[in-house]
Symmetry: C2
Subunit: 338 residues, 2 copies
């Protein structure tokens, strides 16, 4: 801890988060659910999805685009599907309501999918992925965002940053989890370059004419690009389809149109899968889960990292020592209580 | 048609394919199923997955690693899962046997997954994806291969080329389908560079010491890389897990070890998903499927291509005019009849 940082316990941050959110009118149950996500982000060293996100949430609350006391409703359509209508609220409470239905269906049918509809989405997907792997299930999730990203070979935004996340339960310790944007980088990363008047690497964006650019402002005014060329672009389209039309919800273009310049977090849907290994494997589950450990050992044994490894290291530190917020951020959050 | 090519009808190629495969001892029903896949590849202009694959199939048959008359068995484990034991045969017949069970489960439960076990895999995944989208269902499939690809940050092969494929049914015309390797390129592409003594671009592989290399032989002796850095590497791991331990089948490393230098196509499993849009959407299915068309229009309307578009164009030509095989390939195939 230096003069530039403020030390907090995780409980202390939870208390601050709840206070900020309820001060800005968010219902108590939503404030609890959103706080769990934000504290998990800060705990895991994800600065952009931690305490800082409270400012984003408050901005979204101020746009009036989020329903502050939304009561999510569960629709039990098919034996292996569940829909949760978030009714315009933040996604977290809708996910928490739907989770036990999803996992029960996955256990009894072997696989199940959940569509969360009509939610406001500002968070990473890994907290939800981990909530599923904690129950011994394999998890997949994706969600569109706002249309900022051009398809491969194109020049105009169609896709959101469209994250894809996956989780695999491990018998000892933290699950195998990845969660990445299908855009080459986060939009915030390009904005940071613009503020710093620094050029961006090629491959991050194109200008309004569709030409490759290293100018951050030109890319923000033009379009971001996907990671991995036409393969990343194909995955971004898959996210639009699964978490958009398939579940009867908005594409990234429709979400941005609905926002209409208000600057809210994206509004739309989320697609979540849960698979029970025991459904395929029965009495042989343990032995095959152990074979997955051999795969992980072959990766870490050559000095490569598993996705989320840094996050789990940060988590271990935070659980022991608490967290340190930049003083400026801490002061901004205190200011939101006024 | 020039002197260097031989014109054939699609029926003619089917006949040749069946003759070659049965001449080398493949059972009749397998020869029919494999022929459907090979003719589809040639028809769609996929030279490496078309008639040329007959040579690969024959080589695999000669290794003795494939069961020539395998009778695939269906195991109906859970309401939304089906396993098909290919019993050591080529994957095609096992897929065809399992398909009606998978699609029926997807329709009655909303989503279903199929694990194909103990199969020999040499083909692209899109013919199977299209067999599912033809029935109005959304499809996903993946399969490991042989361990040739290093994880991000590593230097030793762990992953196969591990393709991922996805399909979305479209009311008019061909489905939205992608099917790509999670390796930066196909292994055959590096082999072609080695034969031609041409350098490979950076990002395709590392040498045995884990250093980036532009030497094709050094990369083949070292390890291939995934596309898209750590994101592609994470996806390759997901494929290993879903189509390996989750369904009780081999990882790419285990498949290569089992091959033990014989040079057979990979042996192991395949993971397939089918989702019924009507399960989520009920009476609103048509309207939301139409919204997906708006997404596709936004892509093609700016001059970008949809994945598979070239393939569908080749298909239209082949259905009208038949196909032209390189004479050398045609002669090689005739030679396999001797």
């Amino acid at each position: 801890m230096t003069d530039d940082t403020v030390h907090m316990t995780l409980d202390g941050l939870s208390e601050l988060s709840r206070a900020v959110l309820t001060r800005h009118g968010l219902g108590r149950r939503h404030a609890e659910a959103v706080t769990r996500t934000i504290v998990a982000g800060e705990r895991d060293g994800c600065a952009s999805h931690g305490a800082y996100r409270l400012i984003v949430c408050v901005n979204t609350l101020k746009t009036g685009k989020v329903v502050r006391n939304a009561d999510p409703q569960i629709h039990d359509a098919m034996p292996a599907l569940v829909r949760v209508d978030a009714r315009g609220g933040f996604a977290q409470l809708a996910f928490e309501r739907g989770l036990p239905v999803l996992t029960k269906k996955a256990r009894t049918r072997g696989i199940a999918a959940m569509g969360i509809n009509n939610c406001v989405h500002f968070a990473a997907l890994w907290p939800e992925i981990e909530a599923i792997t904690e129950q011994g299930l394999v998890a997949f999730a994706c969600t569109p965002s706002h249309a900022w990203v051009a398809p491969a070979g194109g020049m105009r935004p169609v896709f959101g940053t469209n994250p894809i996340a996956f989780g695999w339960p491990r018998p000892d310790g933290s699950p195998f989890v990845f969660d990445f944007a299908t855009s080459a980088v986060a939009r915030g990363e390009i904005e940071l370059h613009r503020r710093a008047a620094k050029p961006i690497p090629e491959g991050w964006g194109v200008d309004a004419g569709g030409n490759p650019t290293t100018d951050a402002k030109a890319a923000l005014d033009g379009a971001m690009l996907t990671f991995g060329g036409h393969k990343g672009s194909a995955l971004a389209a898959m996210v639009e389809l699964l978490a958009g039309p398939l579940i009867g919800d908005l594409t990234s273009a429709e979400s941005l149109a609905l926002d209409d310049g208000a600057g809210s977090s994206p509004i739309g849907g989320e697609f979540v899968l849960a698979i029970d290994p025991a459904g395929f494997l029965g009495g042989e589950t343990e032995q095959h889960i152990a074979r997955a450990e051999t795969l992980f050992d072959a990766i870490t044994g050559q000095g490569a990292r598993l996705p989320s490894q840094r996050r789990y290291e940060a988590r271990a530190r935070s659980l022991k020592h608490g967290i340190c917020l930049p003083r400026a951020l801490h002061d901004d959050l205190q200011g939101l209580l006024a």
